[in-house]
């Protein structure tokens, strides 16, 4: 459960990356495809080369969705409801906990790369909890 402090920290992190959110999305996906090739199986229709427009575009979408979640930390279930449906019924990504863990790891790495020392253990913990909460909501409709 996200405490008030966690929510503050997540919002702070989001503030800190507000200038480079688009890059963050593309970089997260790129790192995920490099480190966890099995995640490419969900994107057979994408050009997965470095710098591809599709990765950029999709990265932007992912970060926008996370940003929306950050704005609605008190009501993640409702905010992510559509996306939850999409992942469960249309995309049928394996129960989100696993692939989303991989995405979350890469997102954390991108935050660490960009924020360096400023990415404190407290922020790291809060973001980890946030990403787990997002994964849990996305998994709600699975069965």
């Amino acid at each position: 459960m996200l405490t008030a402090e966690d929510k503050k920290l997540v919002q702070q992190v989001w503030q800190k990356i507000s200038g480079c959110q688009e890059d963050a999305g593309a970089e997260t996906l790129e790192r995920m495809f490099a480190a966890y090739p099995q995640t490419k199986t969900y994107f057979p229709h994408f050009d997965l080369h470095h710098g591809s427009d599709q990765i950029r575009g999709h990265g932007k979408k992912v970060v926008a969705a996370l940003g929306n979640a950050v704005k609605n930390l008190d009501n993640l279930s409702q905010a992510l409801s559509e996306l939850s449906n999409l992942h469960a019924y249309n995309l049928r990504v394996d129960p989100p906990c696993f692939p989303l863990q991989l995405l979350a790891q890469c997102f954390q790495v991108v935050l660490a790369v960009h924020l360096g020392k400023d990415y404190t253990p407290e922020m790291h913990a809060a973001v980890d909890k946030f990403m787990s909460a997002v994964a849990a909501v996305l998994a709600e409709k699975y069965r």
Partner: protein, 147 residues
């Protein structure tokens, strides 16, 4: 037997050469205890773990973090023979320490984040991919003797 390409070996050793084992080890262990507080159960005799600040400043955490990462360095010297290298440590973690191997995976992921924070853009996607493979293989070797 895990296969390492020349490029992967290069990415591992070039990053490792620049790692301050004491600092990174301390930071990785502290973050494990902060981000996944249940892991504190393995460190009952470490004294004050009551807050992130206490954990980060705790001398036992620092010392143990250094120990853990030094051991990781042994793995890097023995990439072709990890299971043998970690055989005794694996038995120790199972029989004496009673650590669920899932925690090795958590620590590995945290180490990657610590490296990313230290090396910034130099910690490229290829670097990360190689190191994720490395921490996975180390975790696997550490779990190998579990029964």
């Amino acid at each position: 037997m895990v296969h390492w390409t020349a490029e992967e070996k290069q990415l591992i050793s070039s990053v490792w050469a620049k790692v301050n084992v004491e600092e990174c080890g301390a930071e990785a262990l502290a973050r494990l205890l902060i981000v996944y507080p249940w892991t504190q159960r393995f460190f009952d005799n470490f004294g004050n773990l009551s807050s992130p600040t206490a954990i980060v400043g705790n001398p036992k955490v620092r010392a143990h973090g250094k120990k853990v990462l030094t051991s990781f360095g042994e793995a890097i010297k023995n990439l072709e023979n990890l299971k043998a290298t970690y055989s005794k440590l694996s038995e120790l973690h199972c029989d004496k320490l009673h650590v669920d191997p899932e925690n090795f995976r958590l620590l590995g992921d945290i180490l990657i984040i610590v490296l990313a924070a230290h090396f910034g853009k130099d910690f490229t996607p290829s670097c990360q991919a190689t190191w994720q493979k490395l921490v996975g293989v180390v975790a696997h070797a550490l779990a190998h003797k579990y029964h």
